[in-house]
Subunit: 477 residues, 4 copies
């Protein structure tokens, strides 16, 4: 029932030095809602105490109320959104996490995933640390708390040396708002300003919503410390090239965001154009899988000259699921989320464009729908290469054996999906669309292991089999 997409796990937003810090944070999180719909949280600091509001569900379900915002006084705030799962959702895992350190409180929000989080957790528990969540983020918090360094900055650097993986952290202390990006800059993180106030955000669209100015990206391996004296930058790691996750461009980031100096909508349109160049075909209409396939389909249509048409209409009211009551009438062809625009499709040779295929479950339904609407032929075009490898950096991917492209050849996929043809954008086409001549195989410009299998960091937990370890004996209720 959920869209068959990879899912980003989180978004981070923080404000320093604005009297409406919590309201701005709520708005920023709302703009980042596509990065996580499971839960949202905000911590503010009011000069004396930290204040926190954590909730399951959408930002707009909870943080639209004055009564909630009034519980978050202060000039600085840090917020977080989490992804939505089909399984159990846990309030205890909603971030920001908070800890009282000896020098004062600290709040922590995390986008990414540690590849040695479970290994570290096991060691910490052995030493007597008590974990409250099952998130890898808490590991980092315990490392900070246990550091014997004096200053909070040095404690953080101490802790950073222990962790591996992808992380964009926001931290809030009594005096500082801190932004940290991992040595490869896998997950995005940007700095902005609103008058004298400073902002950190996962994407620029969260600056736009509050009318803030984009200042710059947080660099890979950089610690940015914002306090009353201004902004200081620290780079505790050896300098290496940035290697952001290519999937932010393909699917995760909002089309109106600018990442690494590039407009996301334009990238996607370019991917569509390169897709048309690589695998054009004569047809009557280019139909996007809404909404994610629209920019690539527009690019494809523009490049190919085949007319663009909204052949599938999406019901935007879905929100909560109809899973339960529908189960008993599942045999009916329920068109809960998408409905074909039959008059547009009937008798047409259709090019169906989407940005990616994961399991293939949505594609199979969409294709069936278009067939029922009596298309004469269906040719699917995907504006990214086949996804063959799982992610360990903060994207919710299915197991390798569930990835359709990991298990089937393109010919078999054509057969299984019931298509007339199926083409994916090539790795080269993808890098071209991003403005590069080609992938630099010695030092790839992007983190692209889902297509290539080349993981940019150690995978400690995976290699030690820790991924299947039970993190807590306490059940999720």
């Amino acid at each position: 029932m959920l869209p068959d997409k990879l899912r980003e796990k989180c978004g981070v937003f923080g404000v320093f030095g604005h009297k409406d810090a919590a309201t701005l944070t709520a708005l920023g999180l709302h703009a980042l809602q596509h990065r996580g719909q499971e839960g949202a949280g905000i911590v503010s600091y009011d000069g004396k105490n930290f204040n926190t509001q954590l909730s399951l569900g959408l930002v707009s379900d909870h943080f639209t109320k004055t009564s909630v915002i009034n519980k978050l006084p202060g000039d600085s705030a840090l917020g977080h959104v989490r992804y939505s799962t089909t399984g159990k959702t846990l309030l205890k895992n909603v971030q920001p996490l908070f800890a009282d350190l000896i020098g004062g409180g600290i709040a922590l929000a995390h986008n990414g995933n540690l590849t040695n989080g479970i290994d570290l957790r096991n060691k910490l528990v052995k030493e007597g640390s008590i974990f409250q969540s099952t998130s890898d983020t808490e590991t980092f918090l315990h490392l900070i708390a246990l550091s014997k360094e004096k200053s909070i900055l040095k404690k953080i650097i101490d802790a950073l040396y222990d962790i591996k993986g992808a992380y964009s952290f926001g931290l809030l202390t009594k005096k500082k708002l801190i932004a940290i990006r991992d040595p490869l800059g896998i997950r995005p993180l940007v700095l902005g300003s609103l008058g004298d106030a400073k902002i950190i955000a996962s994407e620029t669209c969260a600056l736009d919503i509050i009318g803030a100015k984009f200042e710059r990206e947080v660099l890979n391996g950089e610690i940015v410390v914002i306090d009353n004296e201004g902004i200081k930058s620290y780079r505790p790691f050896n300098s290496i090239n940035i290697r952001p996750c290519i999937f932010e461009y393909i699917y995760f980031a909002r089309p109106d965001s600018v990442l690494g100096g590039v407009n996301v909508y334009e990238c996607r349109k370019e991917m569509g154009k390169y897709l048309a160049k690589e695998s054009s075909i004569k047809a009557d209409i280019v139909i996007p899988v809404p909404d994610s396939g629209v920019p690539a389909a527009l690019g494809y249509a523009e490049e190919s000259g085949v007319p663009f048409g909204l052949g599938i209409i999406r019901n935007h009211y879905v929100g909560r699921t109809f899973i339960e009551p529908i189960q008993k009438i599942r045999k009916l062809g329920i068109k809960l989320k998408h409905n074909p625009n039959k008059d547009l499709i009937k008798g047409k040779k259709v090019i169906l464009v989407d940005d990616s295929i994961v399991r293939g479950t949505t594609a199979i339904k969409i294709i069936e729908m278009i067939k029922e609407a009596k298309a004469s032929e269906i040719h699917m075009r995907i504006s990214s290469p086949p996804i063959k490898y799982p992610d360990y950096y903060g994207i919710d991917t299915p197991r390798k054996d569930e990835l359709i492209a990991s298990n089937l050849s393109i010919e078999k996929m054509v057969e299984k999906l019931g298509l007339n043809s199926l083409k994916f954008l090539s790795i080269k086409g993808l890098y071209n669309a991003m403005g590069h001549k080609n992938r630099d195989n010695n030092s790839p410009q992007y983190t692209d292991h889902c297509f290539t299998g080349e993981y940019p960091t150690e995978l400690v937990d995976r290699d030690s089999g820790n991924l299947t370890t039970q993190l807590s004996l306490l059940n999720d209720n």
Copy 2:
């Protein structure tokens, strides 16, 4: 904060003869959600009792739970969705309404508006009827209850002779599901089938969601009675030409619905094409106001050859409003719902396409947004004529003095909205796009008073000043 659109007041859906009647009705209402987001209700009949579930909010907030559906057993069901207002929402006005008549129970769901509802209500109260809601729908229920006729069908016809205005009714009794459309067929209503079960629905998209087959439209002035013996049709009024509301085609109906044999998406694209024919201009990009302006903008771009681009990105997570906490920071240029795709707009001569302008409040913000994104010029094109007159047939229109086109000339509107130019589709262009050579002024093909001021029925309550009467002394809490 709400979109500056006319709003449809309701949608109706009913099932007769299917063991999952309530689930199907929930799905049908979900497909009709765009016709009303304030509240939803379902009444089912289980062979012995009627069962009812009414709730404020979206269909998917309430009717997705098995526990709710289980309270609605039976083979027949009737459902309703209501529009969302900025003001108070009232559970007591959520439909279907129910009454125990002497011969058995009756449930009633209504899309439309009676133009003499208040006049009738006053008379009924004088005679001793006790009203529970403030809706005009209850008037019809009391008229049925008070009829001295014997059969339920004759009671209904008796009551129909008293009411004026626009109405598409669904009624459910112990043995029958009944569909009624007013003599002019102003609001839509269609019949469908799912195996042996019969369906009534405001739009065909609600048939599609459950995989039902479209059978035919309910005719203007027709009473369709569905029972175990089949379908019977009654036409108690003198025969006149159908005259459906043109706004269903322009904005209300879902683009994947077929109304009067015409695909709504195609109509809108045609309106965009005729708009381009009438008022073309050289430009760099055609940008739709999302989502309603997209089909017309695609038509405009196709006809004019100017490239189409998603220059404004809409946040689909809005749902609940951020009104309260934002008020104190309103001075900031909060971009809650729409964000410009700056790189697409910068330095460009923009054609901005929308389907209508009501008050102009949204347009003014969108235009300002595009200016901030540094467009070189902005030319707005509206794919319908100027709205100058209020509606009394079930559309929630503002007062005449709030309609921008009712108060300002196009030149003044250009000035007020800060545009380089502004053009509306002509009445002729609108009828052309609908496939007619021209408007037949003697017997217009559509109800189009919002543009022309020609109301197709008596307006009893308006003419007697009843519209400002307080309907109940009981406050809305």
Copy 3:
């Protein structure tokens, strides 16, 4: 699980002429909470509109919130509490009911029961009245609405002539607060004052809670009209002797209330004394069934000289029930509500005192409990006569065949309950305790049909078999 007691069906409270009318009404209803725990409602009039808040559950669950009280502005208010049932609870039956009459709004709260309510309802539905509740109270509202009289007072009198049974009504109109008591004065109703404000209440304890002064009882067959000009009294019926329900004295009324000039606690203690006089026995300890048996047990102990002891401790935190989870461990001797004070009971000859036995279900458990605590003998004494006949005047009684005293002789009851002896207070003793020499069989001083079978009014619905009629085809969900 519920106590095996007859249950009073309602309580009424109203305020006229006080700026905190709703708050005072909430407090008054709280003091009357023992008269109904299913639901509570308040209607206020603010000089322009009526405002209403109805809720299931206790008064203190809903009406303690400023946000709720603030929705009830105005100088006059009317409130109601309803009884709690084991079955479904219905918000639509929570009173006060409200209707817009032609001359203005009217709110109605009722304590009692009409013995021809269903007969009248059937006639009204036949004539076209639409009922929203299944309560007999709505019948009276329709009769008022349908009256052709001009003034509200005359409409009310018109309607009163049609109804039979027991009723204490409170009504609130734009200008008046009205109190009505049936010709026999079966249910209580009193007048009070708080400064210039006037109060109506079911019992004097509701005057005490707000510090109001008791003025007088509403007389049997009296209509008291309170408005800005003062208090007027009307007596539209032929004068007959008052005949209040004896059960108010035995069990319903709060012990600190004064009814008919008599302190309820003292009555109950007197009943205990007469019980001791009639059926004394040598014993070690007098133990009350808490809390209702305490006053009678104190009287019994005082009269008999046997020491009084709290041999059974009641857990006052019950509130919501533990019915569901306990069912599977029912075989265990769960002592949810009562626990024996074993050290007090062990080896003692116990006199167990309660005010009444209905089904005997509680008694049987209490007696078993005392046995387990190793009493040497158990002698039960009941401070009222055996209940043999059901009530039709607003008391929730079980069917006749569920009344233990209606089915078993005292000897059989002794056996079934596992007692050493069982004695009830005699009719004569009861009347003695109330200060009368004896029951006046020609014109009994009290409504006492539960003991005697002498019903003081016609029982139209019972005699016509209407009691089993389904009042609505709409299910209770």
Copy 4:
């Protein structure tokens, strides 16, 4: 608004080896509800995972639902109830607390208070422990987690050596249910059995509710370990005499509980008798302050021969408070909780009996109430000595300067409260009532510092001023 009583802070209940462990625990907590109304929690172990349900409010608000109980599968369970405060209530402080230790999970429930809890917390935070609650209980959990011992039992003993104060702990691990009582046995804790299942509980009334058998008290300084092999006892401390808190007998424990072999109700009655012996006076009626003063008043009446009467009626429906709406009408003499039985009091010389006076705020209202009811004289008798010193062992006492007996002589209290006379039970009388000849001043039989100022343990936090330390920078929302 809250009763002016010392408040017990907690109750503990645990089950080992019963398939309905969670249901039994819910019932046990319900019986212990008087020991804490703020929040309740249950942890169960199902053989694989621990499961937890924590909630604010009463046990019966949450744990009566099958859906909740079903989330607590398993044969062993541990539960806890917490006290209610006037201030903020915190879900994070609701127990049992849970931690994943390296050897498995552990749940902890605590009744009592550590007198060096804050000192220990500060040290632990300095070392890098992250606290989630502000309760002293979590300190003990961290000490266990940090112990370098191997077995859970040795870890616990390790941790016990660090803590001081009053504690009755329940702990649940994968294989064991553990009960621990501090070296002085200040707070109660008992063992019971139900068939083969073993029970631990704060009071015997919690055994009674489930029909369990009382086995014995946990001894002072004892660790009782229950597992599949049976029950083992450990006594890691030097042996000293038990010294239970006298206030359990005076007020906290339920009257049907047996503590230290003594029936609580009988103790209280004895205290009333000794009070009558010490300070008798001629009078017309003995009136208890309900409900706590009833047993002492019965004893007083029995000893003195003055008749007992329920002169003050308590409304048992209070539950939630009416604080908000009443504030504006506070000047009225609102009798929310108590109402005088005027007819009983008028013209009488009244002896008013209560078990204790803390601030005097309730007493002053009750006395005023009795005066308004026109008593001729009011003589107050308190069945315990004057409370002059605060508690640090798990009783919620006000600051010393708020204790009326700490600040005023008895003469001044008579004056302030508006009494004719006031007498307290003497220390000697109290010990006599408990069955002792006198207080053994060298080794007092009870913890009685509230009267004597003799604290039985070190008060580390108080002496170091730690009591005013802010435990967390995170605000309570």
